[in-house]
Symmetry: C2
Subunit: 269 residues, 2 copies
């Protein structure tokens, strides 16, 4: 594979991640031959963007592509890799939590390009700032994938499958759970007739702090202070939301414990 | 109270919020007469910054101040307000979750200036961008406090005690819990020997998304997709952290339910 000549690429999947990769490969001058999705409409929608062929059956996969990018739901990946016809070219998946083995079991030249970023179809992102974590089944494959990834992003790293799984897990905390906290906050603002954007400066500063200090040092709020009275008031305000009460209690206890342990550690240093 | 002539101010408290208010009052040309803290060292440390008198007993409070700013732990506020000697001047607290009544019960002219921001002593912040939520026990007091707050910040709002409590609660979700998610992610990166700053682009984009779309629409990740297999893998990676498993399960279930309900709502629209 020579990354200086355009590659023939087959995209397997049509979700958020597949969409961003398809666009960025296309922009980089590569040729999107096919877009596969079980759902023919989804395949067509994405294929049209890049003048690719939309397919919804594995049996019509173009076997002459240089690269097959598997970008589908994690739980569909094992069975789809098993159904995949023999091809030459590289097989690459984009999943954080899935080992490279799922591909190497079926194909000789395999790898992973994992974008550590939250990608929504509807939101444009400067892909050159998206960190890409690479794994290849051989040193040769790894080198090829690093070269390809470096065309797309300024931040290309190599890591193994276990480290990638840990990255994916920490991303669930730092992004998915964080975003859900924003969602809960928005629901509360609406319930109490407060402007939807009231928390923007607070959220901006919470993120800005993260860039400058360790999160454990940046922790503020009633749980960090062990202020039970305020926590009880908050729980009372959540009376009509038993699920949010559970979340509030679980996280407050964890924060209190973490801060107590951390303060102990610091005293012993 | 004429906000054009410098005020004599007594600061009651020496924590993060008291520190920021002391500095900003001082910079605005007001006169910090005293800083009270039960802990004499803490009082001294903050008083020195503004050439104020440090006191650690309520009985030596200067009764001639124009403004007494109560900025102490929420659970200490009721008893301290009760112990406070009679004074003229305005009594103001800065607590999100505490009703104005805690002051009006003991003093005629009372109010609240609640800064909706995460303030750490060690981190400078441009106070003119901190949203200040005002309440006064009379229209007159409210007007005075709005004028004073407007000297310090460009974002001054009036809200009642219940709305302020809801703001404070939503801030716990959007800031304190969010920051704890960052802390967990940092712990995981360390455990798996990954660079501490790996998640910075992800966290930046999660926040950037918040400024442009509703959090419920921005939600990504295995829980949002209902991808049980990935969630099980994450739980397995957390085997040695039963508390983090509980948090992971609680939040994932909440996200899955929220996304299912939201999709149903959208279909019926």
């Amino acid at each position: 594979m020579n990354t200086k000549t355009p590659l023939r690429i087959c995209i397997i999947g049509s979700g958020n991640v597949a969409t961003h990769f398809t666009r960025v490969f296309h922009c980089a001058g590569h040729y999107i031959a096919q877009v596969y999705s079980r759902n023919a409409d989804h395949a067509r929608r994405l294929a049209e963007e890049t003048e690719a062929e939309a397919i919804s059956g594995m049996e019509v996969i173009d076997r002459t592509c240089d690269l097959y990018l598997f970008s589908i739901k994690d739980d569909a990946l094992p069975s789809l890799a098993a159904q995949m016809p023999e091809t030459s070219g590289l097989w690459v998946h984009t999943a954080g939590s899935i080992s490279i083995d799922i591909l190497t079991a079926h194909h000789e030249r395999s790898g992973v390009i994992y974008p550590l970023q939250t990608l929504s179809r509807s939101r444009d992102i400067d892909f050159s700032t998206v960190p890409l974590y690479i794994e290849g089944n051989t040193r040769e494959t790894e080198k090829e994938l690093v070269a390809l990834a470096s065309e797309m992003s300024r931040y290309v790293y190599v890591c193994n499958s276990l480290q990638r799984a840990a990255l994916h897990l920490s991303a669930a905390f730092a992004c998915n759970f964080t975003n859900y906290m924003y969602d809960v906050a928005e629901q509360l603002l609406e319930e109490y007739n407060l402007p939807a954007r009231s928390l923007e400066p607070l959220i901006a500063e919470t993120t800005a702090k993260y860039a400058h200090m360790r999160a454990v040092d940046a922790q503020t709020g009633p749980a960090a202070r062990g202020d039970r009275q305020t926590m009880d008031k908050h729980l009372k305000l959540l009376e009509d939301h038993p699920e949010l009460q559970t979340i509030y209690r679980t996280l407050s206890e964890a924060i209190e414990k973490r801060q107590n342990n951390y303060k102990k550690e610091k005293r012993h240093e």
